[in-house]
């Protein structure tokens, strides 16, 4: 239930597939979150690097958290270039009742932003520029800068 694609996501197709996958699972609420590349600061698009082994273990831990609440989580993300007004990210929660789904999608998306090992680059003037100022250091970062006694 973690899907990685090269380039932009086919959002209608993915939303349809996920809806149909769970059509008979008796979930009352389905909440997708779709992230789309915005025109900002003259960028032509974004580009993404993903470190899959840690993304997969991070996602597995969220699947377990979802399961403990009777819910299911799915996620799709792009590798490489995604141009303006194309989409690079979908996360979705299914749960029996709405409160769990509404709270879960929020905490999932926020943790995704600060923990998932994905690096974003602006595509600008033909260059691929790391978006450092919009990035977040993973919790626990900096230990290699400790003074060694």
């Amino acid at each position: 239930m973690l899907y990685l694609y090269n380039g932009a996501l086919d959002v209608p197709k993915i939303l349809k597939e996920w809806y149909e996958q769970e059509a008979a699972s008796n979930y009352g609420a389905y909440i997708p979150f779709v992230g789309t590349v915005r025109s900002e600061d003259g960028i032509e698009g974004l580009s993404f690097d993903i470190y899959e082994p840690i993304l997969e273990s991070w996602f597995r831990s969220w699947q377990e958290r979802a399961k403990a609440k009777g819910a299911v989580i799915k996620m799709a993300h792009s590798r490489g270039d995604v141009m303006l007004h194309e989409s690079s990210y979908i996360a979705a929660v299914f749960s029996p009742k709405r409160r769990v789904a509404l709270e879960f999608i929020d905490t999932f998306v926020e943790d995704f932003k600060t923990s998932a090992p994905i690096w974003k680059y602006d595509l600008k003037n033909g260059q691929r520029v790391y978006a450092l100022e919009r990035s977040t250091a993973i919790q626990g970062s900096g230990i290699l800068a400790n003074k060694i006694l």
Binding site: F48, I54, P117, R134, S135, L144
Partner: protein, 73 residues
């Protein structure tokens, strides 16, 4: 031999080092002018599991990864 990988935007080829713990790695990397700017905001994983302190011993074949600040979505 320990393999050290630099992920995402860190433009540096992997290293193969004879070290036995993360403190030794810290000492080595702090001496690298080009890398030192990354060290304060990089997370560290050993064999793809994030670690939160340098009190980790390493054995032959282990992989250490440096993860700079992230921004998915």
């Amino acid at each position: 031999m320990i393999r050290v990988e630099f992920l995402g935007p860190i433009q540096k080829a992997p290293l193969e080092l004879e070290i036995t713990n993360l403190s030794e790695l810290a000492t080595l990397l702090q001496a690298d002018k080009e890398l030192s700017k990354w060290l304060t905001n990089c997370a560290v994983a050993v064999n793809d599991t994030l670690v939160s302190s340098l009190e980790v011993s390493l054995k032959d074949g282990d992989k250490v990864s440096l993860l700079p600040p992230v921004c998915g979505g």
